[in-house]
């Protein structure tokens, strides 16, 4: 079932600003959409509004064309995984998973069988008779996932469901959710502030920042071609400059850069202020391109697979990923190129 959020606004105090200032986005039926944004921008609030746990000040939520405003949370045909598993301590794992079926009046034997089936789906059926206090963080989150799936919701909302687990367990849980999504074909919305997690899990992304959706699209589209400055910053486009477009070229300080018309948000002719950016991993080492830049390495940070180098100083500095082969030192001269196909214009926010 497709989900449509339209013009949702929310303010938590009379004096404060709107946390959500007209949020609109669509979750296509059967998709796994990641709602991505920095901490504190209201991603969880959006999910809580969709689930009916928080009332919006304005705006609507439609599920398969049906308006959900005013429908109580327990009557909505969707469910939600909160940030922590919130298992019911007085129930064993199987009864936790069967909880949603119990409130729907399903008989004990049937709901127990369904609970075991869903526990098997998430790979923890051997824990059925344990109590929540006997589970690890990862196990508890798997049980919470089984409990959410057991009610067979039209849409599954997940609010940073892996925030409490790290490393390999987090990766396992991500793979589990991706696998279940493929298997069940369920519409899912996952909130995360982790770009890598959003790219790994989502087949669509919606970027929330500044109270609005800045960008929507597939992970590949947004990675290569973020439209807004906020999205670019969030997705790691750390080279962003303001300049002037004049004569079909971008003038940034002393530099005059060639740009590609298809990467511009408007016509290249004329004279206008403009904001452009390029990912550090798209900056090429060596000359021979259209936009060679020579400078000295002013900072170097070893990241593992590469070294993140700052070339030059001030507002015009370029951040590039250099090979982590130990060749580079701070103070070394280096020439890099900004390929025009990766230099993109950004909506100034």
């Amino acid at each position: 079932m497709s989900l449509r959020v339209e013009g949702v606004r929310k303010r938590f105090s009379r004096q404060g600003d709107d946390v959500l200032d007209g949020v609109s986005f669509t979750v296509p039926s059967g998709s796994l959409t990641c709602l991505l944004g920095p901490s504190g921008v209201g991603k969880s609030t959006v999910l809580h509004i969709i689930a009916g746990l928080t009332a919006a000040d304005a705006g609507t939520v439609h599920l398969a064309g049906r308006r959900l405003d005013g429908v109580a949370a327990h009557r909505r045909p969707l469910t939600m995984l909160l940030q922590r598993p919130h298992l019911f301590d007085h129930l064993d794992v199987a009864d936790n998973v069967a909880f949603g079926l119990r409130v729907r009046g399903v008989r004990r034997t049937a709901r127990r069988a369904a609970a075991l089936e869903h526990l098997r789906m998430v790979g923890v059926h051997e824990l059925a008779s344990r109590y929540p206090r006997q589970l690890s963080g990862g196990e508890a989150q798997r049980v919470a996932l089984a409990r959410a799936l057991a009610v067979q919701p039209s849409v599954l909302l997940a609010d940073e469901p892996f925030a409490g687990v790290d490393g390999p367990v987090r990766r396992e849980l991500q793979d589990l959710v991706i696998g279940l999504h493929r298997e069940l074909g369920m519409t899912m919305v996952v909130v995360t502030h982790d770009m890598a997690e959003a790219f790994a899990m989502g087949d669509r992304l919606a970027v929330l920042d500044g109270g609005r959706i800045c960008d929507e699209g597939t992970p590949e589209e947004l990675y290569e071609r973020p439209r807004s400055e906020r999205t670019a910053r969030l997705l790691g486009v750390s080279n962003r400059w303001s300049g002037t477009l004049h004569g079909g070229r971008l003038h940034v300080g002393e530099r005059c850069l060639a740009v590609c018309p298809s990467n511009a948000l408007g016509p290249l002719e004329g004279h206008r202020r403009s904001r452009w950016g390029i990912r550090p991993d798209r900056v090429r080492v060596g000359c021979g391109g259209a936009n060679p830049i020579t400078g000295t390495v002013t900072a170097l940070r070893f990241v593992g697979a590469f070294a993140e180098a700052t070339i030059g100083e001030g507002a015009g500095a370029v951040i590039a990923h250099l090979p982590a082969d130990g060749r580079w030192r701070v103070g070394d001269p280096v020439t890099v190129d900004l390929p025009i196909e990766h230099l993109i214009e950004l909506e100034d926010s």
Binding site: L78, F99, R133, V151
Partner: protein, 266 residues
């Protein structure tokens, strides 16, 4: 080395436990012996004759049984009413957004700061103008004055520790407000609620002056019989009545203790 430093700590802890048990158990033991003895006079260390006859005689009196029944009825009614009235207040007080929580608690506990006689007289004057005067209902209302603050405070403590997100999680799993209350809130808070109920019951059970004035002599509880016996009864009768007065307390605390253990302290 570590074992050597632990030894004095253990000894101190044992001493504290011994003193606590002595203070709690020894008086109860003496009263119990007195209740089942005939003729235990100074300087005898132990009673000369142990018998249940005097205790049976006191407990067999219609007046004693009626006082037990009235006390239990009043205590149970006060607990139920205090919970019904105190529950929503405690939910609000436990909420994160309430700024004046301290002030509200201060106002709530004001009656507890008044001298018992002044409080009882004030309540009595109010009740005299209502149909509840000299009735069990009047006694229940009067007992609410000292018990309600405790009920609200204890319930607030319970709700502060209750995970509100569990209710939200239950809601998105399809549980109606009543199902959430019955299947999530109540079991999660059972231990704390049992303790709160036990303490509210005990505050009501031990009221003397309020019961005397609000009940106008029509409602007699074990506490009142005990006070009456203390001013001239024989020691065995006093001991039997004292045990009757203490047993619900011990029972309530035992139930609360079991609930707390099973509910993990919540």
């Amino acid at each position: 080395m570590r074992a050597a430093t632990r030894a004095p700590v253990r000894a101190g802890s044992f001493a504290v436990q011994l003193i606590a048990v002595s203070v709690l158990v020894l008086p109860l033991l003496v009263v119990t012996l007195q209740a089942v003895s005939r003729g235990w006079f100074y300087p005898d260390v132990l009673p000369r004759e142990l018998t249940f006859d005097p205790a049976g005689e006191v407990l067999g009196r219609r007046r004693t049984l009626a006082a037990l029944a009235d006390g239990l009825a009043v205590g149970a009614s006060v607990t139920v009413v205090a919970f019904i009235v105190g529950w929503p207040a405690a939910r609000v007080l436990a909420g994160r957004s309430l700024r004046a929580r301290g002030l509200v608690f201060g106002v709530l506990f004001l009656p507890s700061l008044l001298p018992a006689v002044g409080l009882a007289m004030g309540v009595n004057i109010v009740l005299l103008h209502t149909p509840l005067r000299s009735s069990m209902g009047g006694v229940v209302v009067a007992h609410l004055v000292p018990t309600l603050p405790y009920a609200v405070a204890l319930l607030t403590a319970v709700f502060v520790r209750t995970d509100v997100d569990q209710e939200r999680q239950a809601a998105v799993l399809g549980a109606s407000p009543w199902q959430r209350f019955r299947m999530v809130t109540l079991p999660a808070a059972a231990g704390g609620l049992a303790v709160a109920a036990a303490l509210v019951f005990l505050v009501s059970w031990s009221q003397y002056l309020l019961t005397l004035l609000a009940g106008g002599g029509q409602v007699v509880t074990i506490t009142m019989l005990l006070f009456s016996a203390l001013s001239g009864g024989n020691p065995t009768t006093i001991a039997v009545l004292a045990l009757c007065a203490a047993l619900p307390s011990v029972g309530a605390l035992a139930v609360a203790s079991v609930c707390l253990r099973e509910g993990g302290g919540r």
